[in-house]
Symmetry: C2
Subunit: 740 residues, 2 copies
């Protein structure tokens, strides 16, 4: 697409939600109160696996201020399952923290007090904690009606991997582990549900309002359109608020007491509600002596926890993502989602990516070291080219990988910095097939005062989508952003959008909104052509007005021309369907690469990042400063994964579910040098050739760090996080090597 001079797109415009947020005026679900609303408190299982023998809610129900207590008995008339889980425990609990009852009361303290009065009699059962236990031949079954504990499996096959290894000069095989990670959004899940005979209204911090709508409609027996979901601002999502989470539970509670009920989770509760899959990854790679990749075999096990959620989808992604952005003639990968008796795992920024790319890219660094080759050169040799098919069934590559890697090498002065023996520098790169489905409808309304309203179902969760979509409308209509508005989704009023996630909002919603704005523009030009007595092509839009030669007519005047008064409006619509990718996913190939330089305190084992440089191929940076924010935010998250974060289960209990014991990166952990380079080849499917971003910055961090540690110390780390204790112990073992 030929880009003429752009005014709003590509500019560091102010965030349209900035004022609301810095003044504290932005409303989140927990800020909302609905008249007649009760407060719900969830009583949770303290057993990892048990049969529920009896529940006595009598004492709780008798407590003054309690409106009712929901238990599994109340949902017997429904099929209460979604994402493989019941909305509340039925005969059995399968993880510590599983909802067993919900008390709805006049105030939160009464609800909590009453929950303590609910007496649950359990018969404890043996639990399978962790992948090894769950995969053991005699493991307790998490779901008694299933064969074993595998809940999802996907594989990639190409060529003949045995032949590939036979033709290789060198074969590398390593085992990696990746911990359970929590999203740690600023805002844990919050839901207000109002169940009525003829439908349900919810306010929820949901990333995917329309998918949640569909789940609720099915469970509670309404047509989709009778379930209205309102999504205010989200205090972060990162996939943790994808799909239905506690919405069905809160709706069931409201259905029980026939009043609106609000449940806002604590951090501890949210941590057992959803997290990233921990993983065990075996990667075996065959290479020629010159570094040409010949074959890769991988086996990935992912700890999905007690219920499926989208674990199988995570496995599917991992089976592909472990391959890296490389041309590999012989492939044989398997990824398994595994039930365990832990809280559930689900989507998390670049699903299945960090786990598998940590393994694949760590090994690439080991191969380079072993072959005595520069790790950048090794990669450059094997990178896929534009138009090549990375794995059968996926859309051919539309990116220039080599160009991006060369930018990384030059921008980081990689060759100079890595030349020195023992320099604590490392590098990694990755590519993901972001999973967004192209089903999106949007509207743009141009109102009588010349202001525009975007009606789009994208969830603003900090990523800046309202700003980006406003920029598209601003550009098409040449309308200043102060005169463009976009609110949160309300499924009753906002057009359908599949979901917010998988880097799909800038690209897919962007296209729909752009179309809608062009529809409005067409209508404006028609009015202008009639008013000026010229052809539409002779009119240009500028600063909220139509201009042709000396003639000028503001949008408000154009509306007045059309409607005979300061009144009326123009409505434009835009629709994106599967045709834009000819049914072959992904919409977006997302590319991220990074180099790191560490400070390593060999006395304490403490590792910190002195410098991080990230290169993201964004196609077109719609709002460069927001892109940098996304990229740096992702890198900080990757840094947390690499150095600090790990949810620790002991005896079925999550023992570090708070901000003190579960360590996330803080500002003091931020790299002293922190650089982002945006590659803009204009070759994405989004407006102006954009390709979406936000996932690419996360996955190169950990393998770059392990690469730097190995380069500096000779010790290869294959297990995360790289806590001081782990690093110190490994370094203390003189000349220590990795476990494999």
């Amino acid at each position: 697409m030929a880009n003429r001079q752009l005014k709003y797109v590509g500019a560091n415009t102010r965030r349209v939600d900035g004022y609301d947020k810095v003044t504290g005026r932005a409303k989140y679900t927990g800020d909302l109160e609905i008249p007649g609303m009760l407060y719900g408190h969830v009583l949770r299982s303290h057993h990892a696996h048990a049969r529920i023998v009896a529940i006595d809610t009598g004492a709780a129900e008798r407590l003054p201020g309690v409106a009712g207590v929901l238990t599994g008995r109340d949902v017997g008339d429904l099929d209460p399952h979604y994402g493989g889980r019941p909305l509340i425990a039925l005969e059995r609990v399968r993880y510590v923290g599983e909802p067993v009852a919900v008390v709805a009361a006049d105030d939160p303290l009464t609800a909590e007090q009453a929950a303590a009065l609910v007496e649950v009699t359990y018969e404890e059962l043996p639990a399978a904690m962790g992948l090894d236990a769950a995969l053991a031949p005699d493991a307790p079954r998490v779901h008694e009606d299933r064969e074993g504990n595998i809940c999802g499996h996907d594989k990639v096959r190409r060529g003949d991997v045995a032949q590939g290894f036979a033709e290789s000069d060198r074969i590398f095989e390593h085992h990696f582990t990746f911990p359970m990670i929590y999203h740690y959004s600023m805002e844990p899940h919050g839901v207000i549900a109002d169940y009525r005979d003829d439908g349900i209204t919810l306010w929820s911090s949901a990333q995917h309002p329309f998918l949640v709508q569909a789940d609720l409609a099915r469970i509670f027996g309404f047509p989709d359109s009778r379930v209205s979901l309102n999504v205010p601002y989200l205090g972060g999502g990162f996939g943790g608020k994808s799909y239905a989470k506690i919405e069905p539970l809160v709706v069931a509670a409201s259905r029980k007491v026939r009043r609106p009920v609000r449940v806002c989770l604590s951090v501890s509760e949210a941590m057992v509600t959803v997290r990233r899959h921990s993983a065990k990854v075996r990667v075996k790679t065959g290479v020629k002596e010159d570094g040409t990749l010949m074959a890769r075999e991988a086996e990935i096990y992912l700890d999905t926890g007690a219920y499926m959620d989208n674990g199988p989808q995570v496995a599917t992604r991992a089976a592909t993502r472990v391959l890296g952005p490389y041309r590999i003639p012989h492939i044989y990968t398997d990824a398994y989602a595994v039930y365990t008796h832990a809280g559930g795992a689900g989507s998390f920024r670049s699903i299945g990516g960090p786990q598998s790319i940590f393994a694949g890219e760590s090994q690439m660094n080991m191969i380079a070291a072993s072959l005595g080759r520069d790790p950048a050169e090794l990669r450059l040799k094997n990178l896929l080219k534009r138009g090549e098919v990375m794995r059968p069934g996926l859309r051919p590559l539309d990116v220039n990988l080599a160009g991006t890697l060369k930018r990384l090498v030059s921008a980081s002065r990689w060759k100079t910095r890595s030349r020195k023996d023992g320099a604590p520098v490392g590098l990694a790169c990755g590519m993901t097939n972001a999973g967004g489905q192209p089903i999106t409808v949007a509207m743009v309304r141009l109102q009588a005062d010349g202001a525009a309203t975007i009606m789009a179902g994208s969830t603003e969760m900090g990523q800046g989508v309202r700003t980006v979509l406003s920029q598209f409308v601003g550009e098409e209509l040449q309308l200043p952003l102060e005169r463009i508005r976009m609110s949160g989704a309300d499924t009753a009023l906002t057009p359908y959008d599949r979901s917010t996630g998988s880097s799909r909002s800038t690209t897919l919603m962007g296209r729909a909104v752009q179309q809608a704005a062009r529809d409005v523009k067409r209508q404006l030009l028609k009015i202008g052509a009639a008013a000026f007595g010229v052809r539409a092509g002779e009119i240009r839009l500028t600063d909220g007005a139509l201009v042709c030669g000396e003639a000028r007519m503001s949008f408000a005047e154009a509306l007045e021309k059309r409607f005979g008064a300061a009144a009326g409006e123009l409505i434009g619509t835009g629709t994106v369907g599967p045709e834009i990718i000819k049914d072959v996913l992904p919409v977006v190939w997302e590319v991220g690469m990074g180099t790191v330089e560490l400070d390593i305190d060999r006395d304490t084992g403490a590792v910190s990042v002195a410098d991080y440089l990230s290169v993201a191929d964004v196609g077109k940076a719609i709002n460069p400063i927001q892109c940098e924010g996304q990229e740096e935010g992702a890198a900080m998250m990757g840094l947390g994964h690499a150095l600090f974060e790990e949810m620790i289960y002991e005896g079925g209990q999550l023992v570090n579910s708070n901000l003190v014991d579960y360590r996330i990166p803080s500002f003091t952990d931020m790299p002293r040098g922190f650089h982002t380079v945006l590659v803009e080849n204009g070759d994405g499917l989004g407006p102006y050739g954009s390709r979406g971003m936000g996932e690419g910055g996360i996955f190169s961090v950990a393998p770059a760090i392990t690469g730097a540690l190995a380069h500096a110390t000779g010790v290869q780390f294959c297990d995360l996080p790289l806590t001081p204790e782990r690093v110190w112990r490994a370094l203390r073992t003189a000349g220590g090597t990795d476990r494999t």
Copy 2:
């Protein structure tokens, strides 16, 4: 328009809002609570005219629970005028009941108590109560900066009225009076306002949300689109909730305390907020001996009260409506809106109609009696024909008036019943130029479950607009009404609609919604054509599905075909602008006629209606039973005007502002025989040739009743209401005649 077999249009479908209303689930503004909301109480002037010397709010402000007190001092930075009034009294009060202060407090009782603590020092000034006082040469001026008290004047001139009278064989001149009437909606005005730095959000029982939005935007200095008005159900409107009423006052209160504030008026407060204009009407008509109308002169004075509102518009309408649906070669009418020191008057079902048509049609009956002609025959002789221009500047007639009158005559067996001397039967007819402006935009969304949502700014105030619009969508899409939904207007989300009133929703919004539904249909047929491999014209829609021969695809399946999943939606838009009437109003000529038979108790003067038959030319009855409901509701209102209702001011005070002292018709007053005949010529501008209704039923009642009284007793009544006392006194005066 050729109407094929219709399924939803023309059927007595169930009201789509019926279930909400009979279960009490329908929400009105007074049912809503907004978090953090305060309750406002309005302190009102108890002087009809006074200067405000001082206001001391100190004691009120100190009362615990009071957040703040708004007075005129707080709006000094604004131009606080709208509809000719300040939103709160500034230096002067001009009617008893004018808002002087608003207290916002934690609860309604505290607010009321605090309002009593506000000390206002007045300097009383002479007041002009009633038209005569206000029109006297030395009358106190209601607005000191204006010349005299006339606030609006319109006139109709045609031919030479002196010549017309000269050519007449007989000249009739009479004086009529019409009382002040209150709308008496079930729900008085309610408003919740939330003022913020960046805009205003309101919930209001407003008939014209977009016009109120524009007023508020102007007063408070925001672009229109920063003012969001939500309109829940209305408990009746009848014009009483047209234009801005208390919205600016409540917004100013919220602006003062920076919290949401709710004010719900009592009936007493609402009665001084808006009412129908009382009127004095002089009509002089010249006729040939054969009954041919030659000339009409009329002078109409309307009591607008202290502030203008739309009084001038009421005068404009009255100047035309006094002419009746007759061919009159020489016309000379003047109508004046007059300021007095009473509470304000404004729109009321058929503005200016009942007052002027009562006069004109009463006189027609007197002319018929005097000429010894049948009143129906007299009218038939003079009725305008299709295509004739009733008054210069208006759209030519598109109705068959004679046909409608013949239907009235035959359906009521008028000739048989009126033949008998002294039969208590009367007849009247009227026509109005309903004033709706054609500026309307609508959307129809077809969602993935095959359900449709109508997004239209029409206010449901009992008239059944949601049902009618649903029928249009049902018909176009052949979709059962249970699967069609429409909510209240929210100016932030609902497309622009000029107003709800003037019989414009079925016609104008109907056209916009029909267009939008056809836009969806076109998209559906395109999907169907591709799926079935046929031309779109070969597919028909039936029961929510596309059918072609044996092939059938539900709408949900069509969406799935389009989007590759049970997802997405189709959006249709429709726009109606001034082009549909080529800028010549009215959109709708509204015709209503009625015959009445009375029971007259000569001992007590009590008059009741034994039988009433109404004929309405509706063009096409979209929902016949709703049409009948509208027509009968209007007739009952007209019956109230004729027999019972009158707001009584004594010494500046409204003394009967409650349901006991202000008598409205009850079920026991309903005619024993109550019949509605709908004339359907399919010649209106609305969908299916509909022409809108709801105003036509009201204005024939009073002149038909005075005609029947005169026919039965020989006494002509020219003043309303016909209370037992008034009737008894007149009958007691043996052979009493009217005042003229």
